[in-house]
């Protein structure tokens, strides 16, 4: 019965525990809608015929509804609507509250691809592997604009927001390959932002994970190529150095202290600069970022306002990498070693 209705209503394969719930309610709602519309429609058609006009100036009886009728008009739809809402809200709460034993997959939307990464190691683009019959929690974010992660076969969808994580979970019931679509308009290739979820039986999934780890271990033979072993900040510094080259920063800014079109990067961080309006400013992360995005805002005395803006040309992480690179060309008064963090006295 349910299968037949699914085909009639063009529903895609239902391949998650949530999909089964959604389909049941869907059939209830659509079924009632059909019966209701047919009821109202047939009653109307009957009356159009039964009460057709016989004389051009025919007068009619004065008919007004009783209070009982109006009460019925209000209460019958209200009862149905609230029942649907009740069931729907219960299921919604269920799907937005991941079970504690769910495995995590990080999902990042980016124009125009989906990136998946697993806490235990492997990551990939546009293909997500998950085991069947095991709850999977998705932690979704975006690197640029809004996206929305949608798997029709699982009936789940959640927006990907930059600078914030959203979550939803599912439990796939059948091994197979399912399509992932982006449903929040995100620019030129919005409709090309496709990916797939590969649902594997539990054992095959374990094998897949092992395979992925083996691949990573082989990589580690070549320690220099394995960036994951280098501390994170150092990695960002390397990225920043490359970016400073490719983005053209080094065409105007030297890194050896010599004067050029722009101030040298060497020892720039934490220095106090005199601006051309006579004020002093301390070069910190905020100032460096601002100078990349709006170079003319606070011009250091003695330099021309010739730098182009990097607004829109640099992603957030790229900006951060360049800042880290500039910080790495530090003067001795920058404290070395890991931060000990602020110290708090416990409240008595």
């Amino acid at each position: 019965m349910s299968e037949l209705l699914n085909n009639l209503l063009f529903l895609p394969e239902s391949a998650s525990t949530f999909a089964e719930r959604v389909d049941l309610l869907h059939h209830f709602v659509v079924g009632t809608t059909m019966v209701m519309s047919a009821g109202v429609g047939l009653a109307a058609l009957f009356m159009f015929f039964r009460y057709r006009r016989r004389l051009p100036a025919q007068a009619t009886e004065y008919v007004v509804p009783t209070l009982k009728t109006e009460f019925l008009f209000v209460s019958v739809p209200l009862v149905f609507f609230l029942a649907w809402f009740g069931i729907g809200f219960r299921d919604f709460t269920w799907v937005t509250t991941p079970p504690k034993d769910a495995m995590d997959v990080y999902v990042m939307g980016k124009q125009w691809m989906w990136k998946f990464s697993y806490p235990e190691g492997p990551n990939g683009v546009n293909v997500m592997h998950v085991p069947a019959n095991r709850p999977v929690r998705l932690l979704i974010t975006s690197r640029d604009v809004l996206h929305s992660f949608y798997v029709p076969a699982f009936r789940i969808k959640m927006d990907a927001l930059p600078g914030r994580y959203t979550q939803i979970w599912f439990e796939a019931t059948k091994p197979g390959t399912y399509q992932v679509l982006c449903t929040e308009y995100c620019g030129l290739s919005h409709s090309k932002m496709l990916a797939e979820v590969v649902v594997l039986p539990e054992e095959e999934y374990e094998d897949w994970i092992k395979e992925q780890r083996r691949g990573r271990l082989q990589d580690r033979q070549d320690a220099l190529a394995d960036t994951s072993l280098v501390p994170p900040v150092a990695r960002m510094v390397e990225q920043g150095q490359i970016l400073a080259g490719t983005q053209g920063c080094l065409k105007c800014h030297s890194v050896d202290g010599s004067a050029h079109i722009g101030p040298t990067f060497l020892g720039m961080y934490d220095r106090v600069e005199k601006l051309d309006d006579g004020q002093d400013i301390r070069v910190d992360e905020a100032y460096i970022t601002q100078s990349m995005m709006d170079p003319g805002a606070h011009l250091v005395a003695g330099y021309q306002n010739v730098m182009p803006t990097y607004q829109g040309k640099l992603q957030g992480p790229e900006t951060a990498a360049i800042v880290e690179y500039i910080k790495s060309l530090r003067t001795p008064n920058v404290r070395e070693g890991a931060s000990e963090g602020p110290a708090y006295d416990p409240i008595q």
């Binding site: 007068a59 008919v63 009728t69 604009v145 929305s148 927006d159 030129l188």
Partner: protein, 555 residues
């Protein structure tokens, strides 16, 4: 002969002796200046009709381009960027330049003073200004669309709209200006309802169309400033990189959605409430019957206007808002559905023991009933939170809002055009063509959008330039339906244009309606009524047989 007593001498009413001294508003001054600088609400309504129809044509052509593009997966007739701009233009033009002003600015302007026995609206010059403000905004927005083009969709979601390199500022500023036109019209109607009702018209003797326009005006005045503010914020963010909505600068992209839907959800009722009002008039006139539950229909308009303000969050169930929010907005959405259901039941109840004359506007009433029930019920389905998780931003939503917002509004717009055509132009059209084209339009509309419900079920997201192969069959069906729909509109344009010039004289009250607007001549003279201000002793929509009037029997 007082106008109020002339209601029963329907059909070809004899021209009274004043007629020669009081020419109809159409010929009272024939210079271009007398039209462009008129303060007559009827002429302003007619000029709005011209522009609204023109923009409907533009929006419609772009709709067809979209449907042709989607005939096959991959590029069909345009590239992805052009497609993205096309659907943005379609949405913007249809919503801001057609749907929102369509019924209030055209038929509201024309009929409201007539229905209240007033000589004009409360602020005639403001009324003219609202036309020019609307045109100024339209020109600016379209200029922006054609010079650079906008590809954000009509929802302008941030941070895409603050990052995109296409022309955001002029389009948003154009929409901002159009908002002032909407506010001015709303204020004008509210004040007119409060201060200019003829003697005898108490609040609960106002025709239901007036009630609907009144409720709509309240929404316009309260909600439009919010989107005005928002459009300005997005513009400055786009031009000067403010940090309101861009998380890269500490802003909040979801804040935009809250502010946007706080206007744009009630805006749905700005579009559809006037349609409900038109239909209340039409079902009453053509079934020659007092409205079943007049007060319930009047109150439910206010109810929709009120609750409509508290349902905006149902556009954001999967935006990361809290589960509790989703629950609250879900329940409030259901209440809107209940108010609409009251109206539907009362319209059908009106036919009970009536005398139905199946004319063209009534055919549109049938189509309207179907679109409202089906569009409304799918709206309830979307308000059911777990179902919305599956359907959000798919073609199911596209089909739903085209059914309720566009389907119901277009049915009402065409019904109003046919119903009031004799009143506005003093001529009648060919009834046969009217019924044929109505059938074609209703059929075409269903053929276009029912496949889109199924596409949504099947999982096709909206705003897709390209789509996987499995969606094609339904897209072809939808495009075929759109073609049928276009034919329907062409036929209507042809026979109405013909009727405008060669149509038979309509007479004062061709439908033998008891609506207050038919008291005046067709077309009405410049100040609406000849002689003293009319009085309206009877309730509106009162077709009662005098012999049976003493026993107002309950159902």
């Amino acid at each position: 002969m007082t106008p109020s007593s002339s209601l029963d001498t329907a059909g070809a009413a004899p021209h009274d002796e004043h007629h020669d001294h009081h020419p109809s508003y159409l010929v009272d001054g024939t210079t271009i200046k007398s039209w462009l600088l008129t303060v007559d609400h009827k002429r302003i309504g007619l000029m709005f009709l011209f522009w609204v129809l023109l923009f409907f044509l533009v929006g419609g052509i772009f709709a067809l381009l979209i449907r042709v593009e989607l005939l096959t997966p991959g590029p069909t007739i345009m590239d992805a960027m052009t497609y993205n701009r096309t659907f943005t233009l379609h949405g913007l033009v249809m919503i801001f330049l057609f749907m929102i002003p369509a019924i209030p600015a055209v038929f509201g302007n024309f009929m409201l003073p007539l229905m209240l026995g007033a000589k004009d609206v409360a602020f005639p010059r403001l009324n003219l200004a609202s036309l020019y403000i609307y045109l100024a905004g339209a020109v600016l927005a379209l200029w922006g669309m054609l010079n650079g083009g906008l590809d954000t969709g009509w929802t302008f979601y941030t941070p895409y709209s603050t990052h995109t390199t296409t022309t955001v500022a002029p389009v948003l500023f154009g929409a901002f200006i159009i908002g002032f036109s909407s506010i001015a019209t709303g204020i004008n109607f509210i004040v007119t309802c409060h201060t200019m009702r003829a003697p005898g018209i108490t609040w609960f003797k106002m025709p239901l169309f007036v009630w609907a326009i009144y409720a709509t005006s309240c929404i316009q005045v309260l909600a439009t400033p919010v989107i005005g503010l928002l459009l300005v914020l997005v513009t400055v963010e786009n031009l000067f990189s403010f940090g309101m909505f861009d998380p890269a600068r500490g802003g909040d992209p979801v804040l935009f959605q809250h502010l946007f839907w706080f206007y744009s959800h009630p805006a749905v009722y700005i579009m559809v409430l006037p349609a409900f009002g038109v239909m209340s008039e039409i079902v009453s006139t053509y079934s020659r019957k007092n409205l079943f539950g007049y007060r319930a229909v009047a109150y439910s308009s206010l109810g929709i206007a009120f609750v409509g303000f508290f349902a905006w969050g149902h556009h954001m169930f999967v935006s990361g808002q809290s589960t509790f929010d989703a629950g609250v907005f879900g329940v409030l959405t259901m209440l809107v559905g209940v108010f609409t259901a009251i109206k539907v039941f009362n319209w059908v109840g009106t036919v009970y023991k009536g005398a139905v004359d199946f004319k063209t506007p009534f055919a549109y009433f049938c189509g309207f009933l179907f679109f409202t029930v089906f569009g409304g019920m799918t709206g309830i389905a979307l308000g059911t939170v777990s179902l919305d998780v599956a359907w959000h931003d798919t073609y199911f939503v596209v089909a739903h809002f085209h059914f309720i917002m566009v389907g119901a509004t277009i049915m009402a717009f065409l019904a109003a055009l046919h119903y009031w055509f004799p009143k506005m132009f003093g001529r009648t059209y060919h009834e046969g063509w009217g019924l044929v084209s109505a059938a074609l339009i209703i059929l075409g509309f269903n053929a276009t959008f029912i496949p889109q419900f199924l596409l949504g079920n099947n999982g096709m997201p909206r705003r897709y330039y390209d789509y996987p192969e499995r969606f094609q069959a339904l897209n072809v069906a939808s495009t075929a339906g759109a073609t049928l729909l276009a034919f329907g509109f062409i036929i209507i344009a042809m026979y109405l244009a013909y009727a405008l010039v060669y149509g038979k004289a309509a007479g004062k009250n061709p439908w033998r309606s008891k609506g207050y607007e038919w008291v005046s001549e067709s077309p009405p003279p410049t100040h609406n009524f000849v002689g003293p201000q009319p009085t309206f002793p009877e309730e509106p929509h009162f077709y009662v047989d005098p012999k049976k009037a003493e026993v107002p029997d309950a159902v």
